[in-house]
Subunit: 288 residues, 2 copies
């Protein structure tokens, strides 16, 4: 049970899943969403107690405001909060990059206590209709402290993660952004490039001949472009660094293939397989 | 029912799945495999009627020989067949690239009738223990004709695909190799590069923070390096062409990110998403 009135701003995949996971576990859940159909559905299925398209109304009586929109909108909301909620409250966000958001949280008046969050889970489909109350279960949830982080907001949010079944992982915002560039933003861009290249053939046979390997490698290309734009622009330095390293790896691979040195090539491929083994080992028995 | 004695050379993922799918549907199934444990298991579970590590013995009484080993071993086997099976027989292979194999099939004596095959399915785990009798069900199975292809072998193999529930797709060998470079070999190399880059951080946090997007995009990195080496070396021209195009796309993306032109970037990302939509549309209702 969360002894708080919670206002969730954005009832998309993340906010909707959160609201569903907390059903009946809060003093009240208030949903803020621009789409009338989403508000109606969340009210109709009992996921929220109150729904509005006006953020000022939504946050007015909340103890904890959770911002679950794309990064750019989270930054807009943080800029607005001091005016629309002058008494202050607790704030958590679900943004995919953390440095810009943490700076904005640190700039909030001292009446606010705030902590950055990023649930390490998702789907390539967006929106309330894709929401899933068990989305966060067993998943890593990154928390990033800033100058407005208090023990009170930390305790409240850890209690919330406990309700969701998520595993908290405290990281510096810069460290988070660098790691997600490697394991989230780079994979997205590779998938997008792969999909553009296959689609540019304009040949149905390319789909016909494609199997599960292509399906999985290209899956992230289906992500929402606006959401991904926000992520890339607020994590540009780390993403460009990952792409530069990737380009070097690509050049190295092309040289190996041109030379046709079988031993060097098979070693290179085996190192990738060993990486996969190490990764699977971690996922099968995570470090505590 | 297949009115033939079938010899399957290689009881790995592909050959093992084939043998299991055909259980009780042939006049006899003979398995050839170098591993004693695999032969014993396939005999014990009733998947094959006879098992040997000697290809000459295995093919001696077979009407149809199916070569289900890595490409290099298929080429070795095709070179050997005229000596060990002088009377000739029908031949099908399951190799991942088709031009070198089709040339070798065309060079067989006229006592042989042969057709190239490539089931467009798989797993990143190899071996008989990963075999699955339903692996081919509903999947595309490419067939490539060569100078030894007769109506008889074509009919026999189409009957076999019917038993497996696979969908035949006739392609020229060169066309096949170009298409799989785009939807199979390129995705594998992207996954391998991604995995090498993530693993090179030597930081358990990189695994801890990774979610389903990384899991799927990097999955193919777990593929067997020896098998992939064969594939890359027998499809070098097409693979290098795909990598060159990919490198251009990467340079284009890096330039867009550097410039930070939001409209151009979001258009670029949206085109990738549209490609994904077209792909999913095809897979959800395939062209007949």
């Amino acid at each position: 049970m969360i002894e708080a009135r919670i206002c969730i701003v954005g009832l998309g995949l993340m906010g909707g899943s959160l609201a569903q996971a907390l059903r009946g576990q809060t003093l009240a859940t208030i949903g803020v969403d621009a789409h009338a159909a989403t508000r109606q559905q969340a009210l109709a299925d009992g996921t929220v107690d109150f729904a509005t398209d006006d953020m000022a109304t939504g946050v007015s009586t909340a103890d904890l405001v959770i911002l679950a929109t794309p990064v750019h909108s989270i930054l807009d909301a943080l800029a607005l909060l001091p005016q629309i909620r002058p008494a202050g409250c607790m704030v958590l966000d679900f943004g995919s990059t953390k440095q810009a958001i943490n700076a904005a949280m640190s700039a909030l008046p001292e009446t606010f206590s705030a902590i950055g969050g990023h649930p390490m889970c998702g789907k390539e489909t967006a929106g309330y209709q894709s929401a899933d109350a068990r989305l966060f279960e067993g998943q890593t949830f990154v928390l990033t402290r800033n100058e407005r982080t208090t023990t009170a907001v930390e305790a409240q949010v850890l209690n919330l993660l406990d309700q969701l079944g998520a595993q908290p992982l405290f990281l510096e915002a810069a460290q988070h952004d660098e790691l997600v560039a490697a394991v989230s933003h780079l994979p997205y861009l590779l998938a997008a490039m792969l999909m553009r290249q296959a689609a540019s053939r304009n040949d149905e046979k390319v789909w016909q001949i494609s199997a599960s390997g292509f399906r999985d490698t290209s899956r992230l290309a289906g992500s929402d472009p606006r959401m991904m734009l926000d992520i890339l622009l607020t994590n540009k330095t780390a993403v460009l660094a990952e792409l530069a390293t990737y380009r070097n790896t690509l050049d190295q691979l092309v040289a190996l293939l041109h030379e046709g040195d079988e031993q060097a090539l098979v070693t290179w491929l085996a190192e990738a397989q060993q990486g996969h083994v190490a990764y699977r080992r971690h996922k099968d028995s995570p470090t505590p």
